[in-house]
Amino acid sequence: MLHIQLRKQRGDFTLDVDFVAPVPGVTALFGRSGCGKSTLIALIAGLLSPDAGRVQIGDDTLLDTSRGLEVDTRHRRVGVVFQDARLFPHLSVLGNLQYGAKRVARGNAAPIGFDDVMSLLGLGGLTARRPHELSGGEKQRVALGRALLAQPRLLLLDEPLASLDQARREELLPYFEKLRDAFAIPIVYVSHQFDEVLRLATRVVLLDAGRVHADGDIATVSRHPVLRAIVGPDAVGAVMSGVVERSDDAGLTVIRVGDAELVVDEPAPAGQRIQIQVLARDVIVAAARPSGLSVRNSVAARVVSVAPDVGRTVLVELDIGRTSVLLARITARASQELGLAPDKQVWVLIKAVSLRGHVFNAPAR
């Protein structure tokens, strides 16, 4: 278990956080720019000293101000991948990769092999190049490799995709997925892009104005009001985790979420864990089971709550069984006509093509 408890005052901004994260696993630190994410990363890495706090990875305590303990950054073995890569410009790619590897204390285990990192991150053809000859995405891959080869016990990724355009981000994301599935290192992934969080993390720490507002599995945090405010009404949507059941005869993938089966247009092997987000604006609520529609997914649900949302809309929470909850944004008028109220039984319609699933290469629990 990773336990982080830190307080730091900077001017009139106070960062005050306390959360735990699983080891191994990816924990996303999500919040808008300026919420204190980068300060938090600097504090965990030891590049900044907190006013008070504790950082603990498993049985190792890296910081405990109550005992006057503060392990120096260079002995923390906390790898950091910065937004701007920070490759050493006077060294080749190989020199950069070996920088941390050469400084691993003798006697420390080095479970992360050079060849594994090279093949995982596809760095084979780049070793002789200089950092200024690399694209933005290549730089981040090298920075990631460099951090891994220093044999970290915790990896901090500080918005590693933020300086890249959409195409480069798409190119780089699979490497982070492979990294997550290949090594048993706990990862803290800082981002203000929820789609990255959705793809990589199972746990989210929601940070706003220096405080933790929610801390838990992505499904719960995805419905949190603060998160809804950050992503904006059009990107609001409940995240659900499911298990891939089979491919149907039309080639679509059938997944089990709660008591329901959903069909998505995303190839995935049976038995894998899959994380999907259903945008609230894509969900249709019907009073009776409809027929003669193109919609692939119609699921029985129970209304949990109806709350006013932006403009003349309401946000409806819908239970589809086994604690799986969907959000639907519909007009207040429609809600009145359907007579939506807590505990009412309804049908939920979701187009298969509006679902995007993200497979986690780990067997479902």
Binding site: A45, H75, R86, F88, H90, H132, A147
Partner: protein, 233 residues
């Protein structure tokens, strides 16, 4: 082509300038580092002190050196009594006077490089397990090499022409401290010295030009060697 006196002055100038750079560099790197990376009481005063040779008349610098490093001065006396080293009126003394005069130039050049250096690289090196001394030699020093080289070349070129401080501290001794500008000055004081003065002036001119060209060439080589500086910070 050159008379023995002229070639003596030329080689002496080159040697004095080269030795002044060698004196300068280690201290200049240290001082530039202190001025950019540390905060201490009296830092502003120290900064001003380092830059004094730029604004003081060179004769004053030479005079102060004579007081400190003369055979009866506090440092010069100790050096002479303990090691038999005499600085005043020697070519080593000329190199010292030249070094003091060009010191602010070298510090300034190295300091600009240090200030332009992305501090984030130092943080990255820390997270990768490098200690402070290790980081200085593996990251900082290679990346400020262009500044150090530029400072060294400027100091060398300026050192070829140092006059006031040298003549005051080291005097004008043929073959020992009579460098190019001193030889030129002497020629001008001598009847029939016009032709010699003209030749010495031409040599100084050529040396200066060559120095600038070499500096530019080195700067380009080094930039290519360490890779273009990444944009932003």
């Amino acid at each position: 082509m050159l008379s023995p006196a002229e070639s003596d002055a030329l080689f002496l100038s080159l040697s004095v300038a080269a030795r002044s750079v060698a004196f300068n560099l280690p201290f200049a790197v240290l001082v530039a580092w202190l001025l950019t990376r540390t905060r201490f009481a009296g830092r502003t005063l120290f900064d001003a002190f380092v830059h004094l040779p730029l604004v003081l008349p060179p004769v004053v610098v030479g005079y102060l050196l004579l007081l400190l490093f003369g055979v009866r001065g506090p440092i010069g006396g100790w050096l002479y009594d303990s090691f038999g080293i005499q600085l005043a009126f020697t070519s080593t003394g000329a190199a010292l006077a030249t070094a003091v005069m060009s010191f602010p130039l070298v510090v300034r050049s190295i300091r600009i490089s240090l200030e332009a250096l992305d501090r984030g690289l130092d943080d990255a090196a820390r997270t990768l397990g490098a200690g402070p001394v290790d980081r200085f030699f593996s990251i900082t020093l290679p990346l400020i090499t262009p500044g150090i080289l530029a400072g060294a070349v400027t100091a060398f070129a300026a050192g070829l022409g140092e006059f006031g401080a040298v003549i005051t501290f080291a005097s004008n001794i043929p073959g020992e401290t009579r460098t190019l500008p001193l030889a030129l000055y002497t020629a001008l004081q001598t009847p029939d010295g016009d032709a010699m003065a003209a030749r010495l002036a031409l040599i100084s001119f050529s040396l200066g030009l060559a120095g600038l060209l070499v500096a530019e060439y080195l700067a380009r080589r080094v930039r290519r060697m360490i890779g273009r500086r990444e944009a932003g910070a």
